[in-house]
């Protein structure tokens, strides 16, 4: 990694769009995001509406087919996309906040605080994190449900599990971000402009937020792009095991779990697996490609 400060320089966008992989990824992500947010309004089919037409293969009325309970798979996949993207993006934002804060403080203060924080990161790396996430989500869910039931007549109660997933995943996925931000701050803080700021009498907080943070945007954006797919994978992993998003809500993980169960040698309902799997893999691939391309474009 370059020792000089990397930030979002003006030419970045142009350099990024020159790469076909990055351009393609951006287009795919835009398409997925657009269809997840707006397509349900045009379709008008309810993802929870059951019907007697179970296991209908893809056809004109149901482009993705229907599932075990006769629900339209297209509508379900789009609902899954909404929830998976929501968890992925907000979870990554939570991890961004924690990781950047820890990394900046550790790198800037140095000494004992630094050693302590980095030991904490080491320990958390060694602990099976998903196991802690599962445990934490089980303990906190009932409490949050209780809290939400009093709020606005309980209309948000179904979202408690999702909120917990976001928090728990965000609180566990910040480790790499913290390490990288710390490394950057360590090299940045020796540069003359930081000393100049100190000499001009600026406080530590001001130096951290006004002078160091803007120079960190590059690495932060790169690792944010790479954390989103990681969080989405974790979420779908938990949902696949039945420990994440709960029915009747759907995420890509729960849809894939249904699809995997529907595979059998007698009659394989391939569409139940095929459509959610393709959409999810495409999204994750695009995010990873974009992150890689951003990193390359920044170090150019």
């Amino acid at each position: 990694m370059a020792t000089s400060a990397i930030s979002l320089r003006p030419g970045l966008w142009r350099r990024l769009l020159r790469r076909p992989a990055a351009l393609g990824s951006l287009l795919i992500l835009a398409a997925v995001l657009f269809s997840a947010v707006f397509l349900p309004f045009f379709l008008g089919s309810d993802p929870r509406q059951t019907s007697p037409e179970t296991f209908v293969p893809p056809c004109g009325v149901h482009p993705f087919g229907t599932d075990l309970n006769g629900r339209d798979l297209l509508a379900r996949t789009l609902e899954g996309a909404r929830i998976s993207l929501l968890v992925g993006c907000t979870g990554a934002l939570v991890s961004l906040l924690i990781g950047t804060a820890v990394g900046m403080v550790a790198g800037y203060t140095g000494g004992r605080t630094d050693a302590l924080l980095m030991r904490l990161v080491d320990v958390l790396y060694a602990v099976p994190r998903l196991i802690l996430i599962i445990l934490a989500s089980f303990l906190l869910d009932p409490w949050l449900q209780q809290a939400l039931s009093a709020f606005q007549g309980g209309r948000w109660i179904g979202y408690s599990k999702i909120a917990i997933l976001i928090l728990a995943l965000g609180c566990m996925e910040w480790l790499t971000m913290a390490r990288i931000v710390r490394g950057q701050v360590l090299s940045l803080k020796t540069l003359p402009f930081v000393q100049a700021a100190r000499a001009l009498g600026q406080g530590h907080l001001q130096i951290l937020l006004r002078h160091l943070l803007p120079n960190l945007t590059g690495v932060i954006v790169v690792y944010l792009t790479l954390t989103v797919p990681a969080v989405m994978l974790d979420e779908s992993f938990l949902s696949f095991l039945g420990l994440g998003v709960q029915a009747p809500q759907a995420s890509w993980g729960t849809l894939l779990s249904d699809g995997a169960q529907a595979l059998n040698p007698v009659r394989s309902h391939w569409w139940l697996l095929f459509f959610p799997a393709t959409l999810m893999s495409l999204t994750l691939l695009a995010l990873n490609f974009l992150g890689d391309a951003l990193r390359d474009a920044l170090s150019e």
Binding site: L135, F138, L256, A260, W270, M280
Partner: protein, 306 residues
């Protein structure tokens, strides 16, 4: 060296203690007990069951009791699989999981290093872009997609391999492949980056100038140094394989430890969960220790101090 080992083992006990405490408290504090059923048990019977498994009385008392038992090597009885010792359940399921994890580990390390070296040596060629595209694909497609696809292809469509269950070593092949996928990709990417950096090092030019053959330069001199980041990744890799095996075991119906982990949480089976988590932590922390030792052995400049 001995002092290093001693310090690491103490730290390991600390981690185990913390994780066990968290597991026990979180599971006991979460609503629903091990004997909560759809049909409610009479209060007297539930009380007696709790007393039998020493889950009555104040929470701290239960916790201290349990910890003392674990320290003595007694993992207690499972509350779900009635009256079977946790130790016995683990002894039955661990070999399956270990075999699966071990196969996937070897598969991932060998094919990952191979793929990464090819990409680095033939930088910029079709082999490079192709293998790196494959790697990114393997990272992005989760195991619970590759698993069913492999089943569909090799078991249901072609009929070459069993779709699941635990009958012969052959039945381990598909699950190990699915499990190794993402890990292979991470190792390939790491190897490529690191080998590209190493290939520009002056000591390789020296070796070439002295007439060392190109093969020896690449595979003996360069790869040995280039593999250091890969070695340090083996710790997190073990963690990934471990959590991944939970899903893979459920897809392929393997009687491994992963299913116990999920079921123990759903059934509030405190002692079984404690046992599984303990085994997982020992594996992970032990793996990290091994990695550190291997690291200092590969690169003598690194001292085992901190």
């Amino acid at each position: 060296m001995l002092a290093f080992l001693a310090r690491r083992l103490t730290a390991m006990c600390g981690v185990l203690f913390c994780v066990l405490t968290l597991t026990f408290l979180l599971l006991r504090l979460s609503p629903g007990g091990p004997f909560t059923r759809e049909r409610k048990l009479p209060a007297v019977i539930e009380q007696q069951l709790l007393a039998k498994y020493r889950l009555d009385g104040p929470l701290w008392q239960q916790y201290v009791d349990y910890l003392a038992d674990v320290a003595r090597g007694d993992l207690r009885l499972s509350t779900k699989y009635r009256d079977r010792p946790v130790r016995e359940l683990l002894a039955q399921s661990l070999p399956v999981s270990a075999l699966l994890g071990g196969t996937a580990f070897l598969l991932a390390v060998s094919s990952g290093i191979w793929l990464g070296s090819i990409a680095a040596i033939r930088r910029g060629t079709l082999a490079d872009t192709g293998s790196m595209f494959l790697a990114l694909g393997l990272i992005s497609v989760p195991t619970f997609v590759t698993g069913p696809v492999l089943v569909l292809l090799f078991a249901l469509h072609l009929g070459w391999l069993p779709a699941g269950g635990w009958n012969s070593p052959v039945s381990l092949l598909l699950p190990a492949l699915a499990l190794a996928g993402p890990a292979t990709a991470s190792i390939a990417r790491l190897t490529r980056t690191s080998l590209l950096e190493t290939l520009e090092a002056p000591f390789l030019r020296t070796a070439r100038a002295k007439g060392v053959s190109e093969g020896r330069v690449l595979y003996l001199h360069a790869l040995k140094i280039a593999l250091l980041p890969v070695v340090s990744y083996l710790g997190p890799l073990a963690a990934n394989l471990l959590t991944g095996s939970i899903v893979v075991e459920s897809i392929f119906n393997l009687p491994g430890t992963g299913s116990f982990f999920v079921n123990a949480i759903l059934n509030r089976d405190v002692f079984l969960l404690g046992g599984v988590v303990l085994v997982y932590c020992v594996l992970l922390v032990g793996m990290n220790l091994l990695v550190d030792l291997a690291y200092s052995w590969l690169d003598p400049r690194i001292r085992l101090e901190s």
